[in-house]
Symmetry: C2
Subunit: 381 residues, 2 copies
């Protein structure tokens, strides 16, 4: 299989750079994507080498593109609850939630990680859509006393089996031993940060939310220094690793035209005990059922290079029935894996399909998620 189509890209003042930009250039980053109107590293030297470094050691990602929406004020808890189908009455201070944001018709506006910094202080750590604009729209007639803004916050992800050692060296045991989806607020020397036990990999991992963009280089250097013994290196977010883990990418996998009931694994995130915008619409979808769904697929053919360059048509018995929206090669499973939209009658694992790649038809079969559970699927040494 060929690499995705490539061309020369010129930076411009309409793309914001991260506070880590200079360090990512110096670390050898060779290609960036655009995400929330900002540049995000997508390739340093080689996606397979970066993958193995992530799953065997520890990687440092510049994910300042995860722009934050801050919601603060006397009604912040009630207001934030309006935005998401997760039940925030069950979200402690310093707890995180994977919190789909829901439109009035039930569509997914974004799928951020929500951080509750205090009773009435929240951050939404965004995927790639301007969901702050949605929050501002809801505010217009909600009649609640909140301030909605983008704070000066720039996350880094420290991911991989050795990430705990790096975080321990930087912050000590309390932070290294955080439970999954819990966070900590404090300082690294005098650099203000929040650290959460979250990430986009399925590996052990953390995010460090820098709260002062002028100190990006300093934070980057501190992390690199603390990780030297663990062989930390700068890598790009891994499409292969997130696919193995059954993690979705907003914008191609699902959009505002899809509800959580359309996405395998997201159904359980709709908590009807909560009061949120779009609740009645989602009740109807839940009652009536959906006619199509996003599912996992295993694909034949040559190993895929990097990631999918465009959607591919999915066929069944010679008819176009859907589209492949993500795919890459799992270097550990030694096969191509991805996600496809298929009609409801084909969502069960084991359905045979055909996918039209630019190089010709490729066999595919629907599969359950996640593709890989490190505790189960990887033979121990």
């Amino acid at each position: 299989m060929k690499e995705p189509y490539s061309f020369t890209f010129y930076t411009a003042s309409w793309y914001r750079r991260s506070p880590y930009w200079q360090r990512t250039v110096e670390a050898g980053c060779t290609s960036w994507d655009l995400y929330n109107h900002m540049l995000i590293p997508t390739l340093y030297d080689d996606d397979e080498r970066e993958y193995w470094h992530l799953v065997e050691h520890v990687g440092l990602w510049d994910v300042a593109v995860e722009r934050q929406v801050e919601i603060i004020g006397p009604d912040a808890a009630r207001f934030t609850q309006l935005l998401t189908c997760r039940d925030l009455s069950r979200c402690d201070v310093l707890q995180c939630k994977y919190a789909p944001i829901i439109a009035p018709d039930g569509g997914i506006v974004n799928d951020p990680i929500l951080l509750r910094l205090s009773e009435n202080h929240f951050w939404l750590s965004l995927a790639d859509s301007d969901a702050m604009l949605y929050a501002l729209g809801v505010q217009a007639f909600a009649g609640m006393d909140v301030t909605i803004r983008e704070p000066d916050v720039s996350p880094l992800q420290v991911q991989g089996p050795k990430s705990r050692d790096v975080i321990r060296a930087l912050f000590g045991d309390e932070v290294a031993d955080l439970r999954y989806y819990r966070s900590w607020e404090g300082d690294l020397g005098s650099i203000p940060v929040v650290v959460s036990r979250t990430g986009w990999t399925g590996e052990v991992g953390y995010e460090i939310y820098l709260r002062d963009g002028s100190r990006g280089t300093e934070l980057w250097d501190r992390v690199m220094e603390a990780g030297a013994r663990s062989r930390i290196r700068a890598i790009a977010p891994s499409d292969q690793r997130r696919l193995e883990a059954g993690i979705f990418n907003y914008g191609n996998d699902m959009t505002v035209r899809d509800t959580p009931f359309h996405v395998t694994g997201m159904e359980r995130l709709v908590e009807f005990a909560a009061d949120f915008v779009g609740k009645e619409a989602l009740r109807r979808v839940a009652a009536e059922g959906v006619d199509r769904k996003l599912v996992g697929v295993r694909l034949g053919g040559e190993p895929l290079r990097m990631w999918l360059e465009d959607f591919w048509v999915v066929r069944k018995d010679g008819r176009d029935v859907g589209r492949l929206v993500s795919a890459s090669h799992s270097f550990r499973l030694k096969e191509n894996i991805g996600y496809a939209w298929v009609p409801i009658e084909l969502v069960e694992p084991g359905n045979e399909l055909e996918v039209l790649s630019p190089d010709g038809p490729v066999p595919a079969v629907t599969a359950s998620l996640p593709f890989l559970d490190p505790n189960k699927d990887i033979p121990k040494g």
Copy 2:
């Protein structure tokens, strides 16, 4: 001056391609930007050659990235009025308006061209932000009966002094003779389109809104055929030409943190006779005044290449006072022009500044907009 920093960019399934994608590749497009999560051509062969073709002949731009928000239903007129500070009681059917979308705090959410297709049917032809999400948010508690969605619409711009001949050859006199900011709805053969007398150049120009994405190649070919005698060619949107005309680019020139009263020339677009979200906030801003403003600047130094690669610091008497957010070289004015944010005491034309380019300090002076009025500033042959 150097070109902006460049690197290899790989396409991905998370960037939508335009229905004209294949034709832009075949026409020799060599570089694209990202805009509303889609790829937009930014360079074919040479930005100066493309500029001269635009101002002397006619250019065809793929601007499918101008994604539409459709607002339709019994309350569509009242609802759309909520979103913008323009007075829509003065907007006829088939009229267009440059219609800033306003947040509850008065910030600019987007600055689309609004098209009124019928009494209760509107399109917002977006600049680069997910303003549909804002409209969906406002809908949550507005209590109005409207449907908000993205229709299957993909605009092309036909711009330049010969554009009228091309439109006449395609659609006849009625459409070619449209008044500025008026539109027409119909078919080209059997291809459904809307045509408006609008554009991003300050030249005579039109936009053709294709209403069936499956027919992009067909429409492109029809336009190219009709324009052959006028020497039409595919070009990229021209940063130089829009700067000459005093046109703004949402995202770098202004953002949701700025109100129309912060942007020179946008003040007059706030029509308090209308009822819209953010009206009270804008009344306060109007009464209290602003402490900074976006203004035109003329810059010394070597001719700039292409466009600004990142913001540059603006100084006055040795102090950092603002930032340059756009700049390019006007090939007709033979000087560098751009926009900068400056403190309110420096907004009048003629204030001398210093701008810190990557190659060193450059003198600058504030200037009135537009930089160039073709009827006044260009000597006749």
